[in-house]
Amino acid sequence: MEQYEVMLAGFGGQGIMTAGQLIAYAGIKEDKQVAWIPSYGPEMRGGTAYCTVVLSDTRIGSPIVTNPRCICVFNRPSFDKFGPKVKPGGLFIVNSSLINVTSDRTDFIQLLVPANEMALKAGNGKAANIVILGAFIGASGVLKYETVRETLIEKLGKKKEYLDLNLQVLEEGYNLALETIGQKDRV
């Protein structure tokens, strides 16, 4: 792996920043160089929030990435804004619970994940970000599933009842991605 960039985007409150930080924590666990960059600006409640995580085996140059390898969008405004920015040959993960359209682009892999529905079914709709995290790990293979699982236990382990739910949806998101994309086509 030279360098892998993933962007997560959605509404404030959807757990975008947290999901990005979990990727960064897991990256450190695997001895990678990591940089996590939030969107910060004059934002308002209900406004957009996004973050970018860069993972690399070597020193990270620019923390600013024009075309990330993977973009995960959690809501429609992010879909519209960031869909065109996915690097050709990359991965576009769409929260199909809240986004009822799909991209016309054919030069990347599009993965539809009904994240809110899956999280609700497991017991709490707020865990949609962890569903997407699982799907990202499954579809990209950039980090080991076990590493991310351990990271969740470390970082979200204080509340046992939520941890179990988070671990469950992480696995479900991961499996969904693997079943849809298949091990050999990971991006």
Binding site: Q21, Q33, V34, W36, I37, P38, G61, S62, P63, T66
Partner: protein
């Protein structure tokens, strides 16, 4: 110590704690407020001083007062806040007081914006306040370097009895990267403090001041300060080279986050067969003039390109260093727009 993931602002705060900062004075402003948030918890935990002033003017003078007692003290702010502190900074330089000031820069002038910029270069390097003084100015380009330079800043402030300013753009403050703190904080020996105000019981009184009404005494003080700045120029120049070689056609000069963006651009150009080298000043005062001159004068260099998130402020120093030896070019954005590779 193992690597941990930290936001630049928090890492700067913890680095100050590790370097033994005993007092921190602040007023919140984006994009550096996380330093204050972190310190509001951390300093009381350690029985040290955390104080939020009523304005940056007050904070600057709190720093001045606390520094005169010989304690390790610092403040952090962002561009408009740093402007409000300039009076106190000038007084501290005149009275030869050590203190560390961090500016996590945002776009200006005026209230400007809150996104990353490097437009306070002149303010940091050329004065900012009134009078014949200089700050020692350091500019990190990664969160780890922000930690290392923060600790060094306290040492240099004490070594020279002069305020030290660390400037980073908003990106350095907001970004999270892996950082490692030393298990044990170590620094070179420092001269004993024989000027600090600790109560005159049992010794003759001391005076810390920047007021010298006798012009001869004021001139003496100014030349004394000048001597220190000349010594900094000899001893404290810091920089880093990236892919500098005899194949380079272009030499880029860039600092902070901008230098990292240039690194990636240089890697991409290398793929296209264009060889470019990077000279990254780490100390902005003292500015690595001789070193830039040396690299720029090499026969293979056709152009010296300065890249900044400002309208060519550092470029004036680069021009002064290169002295017409090579054609110059500039690329930059400002106002909070961060260029991409």
């Amino acid at each position: 110590m193992a690597k941990i993931l930290m936001k630049g602002n928090e890492a700067i705060a913890e680095a100050a704690v590790k370097a033994g900062a005993q007092g921190y004075f602040c007023y919140p402003i984006t994009p550096q407020s996380e330093v204050a948030e972190y310190m509001s918890r951390r300093m009381p935990e350690l029985g040290r001083v955390f104080l939020q002033g009523e304005s940056e003017v007050a904070v600057g003078n709190m720093l001045f007062g606390a520094a005169s007692t010989g304690l390790r003290v610092f403040t952090t702010s962002s561009s408009p806040g740093i402007s409000l502190m300039q009076e106190a900074i000038s007084y501290m330089a005149g009275a030869q007081l050590p203190a560390v000031i961090v500016n996590i820069m945002r776009g200006g002038p005026g209230l400007g914006g809150i996104l990353p910029a490097q437009s306070d270069y002149f303010q940091a390097v050329k004065g900012g306040g009134h009078g014949d003084y200089r700050l020692l100015v350091l500019a990190p380009s990664t969160v780890q370097e922000a930690v290392d330079l923060m600790m060094l800043s306290f040492h240099l402030a004490d070594k020279y009895r002069n305020p030290v300013m660390m400037i980073g753009d908003g990106m350095i403050g907001q970004m999270m990267e892996a950082v490692e703190f030393p298990d044990e904080y170590k620094e070179d020996p420092l001269p004993p403090k024989d000027w600090d105000l600790t109560g005159a019981k049992g010794r003759s009184p001391r005076v810390v001041k920047s007021l010298f009404l006798d012009p001869v005494k004021l001139e003496d003080n100014s030349w004394l300060l000048h001597e220190k700045y000349e010594r900094m120029k000899r001893e404290e120049v810091r920089y880093e080279l990236y892919k500098v070689s005899a194949k380079n056609k272009i030499l880029i000069i860039a600092y902070g986050t901008m230098a990292r963006i240039c690194q990636t651009a240089i890697d991409e150009l290398e793929q296209e067969g264009i060889s470019v080298g990077l000279f990254r000043p780490i100390s902005l005062f003292p500015f690595p003039e001789k070193e830039i001159k040396k690299e720029a004068s090499k026969k293979n260099i056709q152009t010296v390109l300065t890249v900044e998130m400002s309208t060519a402020q550092m470029m004036e120093d680069v021009e002064r260093a290169v002295l017409g030896a090579k054609p110059m070019a500039f690329f930059g954005h400002t106002g909070g727009i961060v260029p991409t590779p």
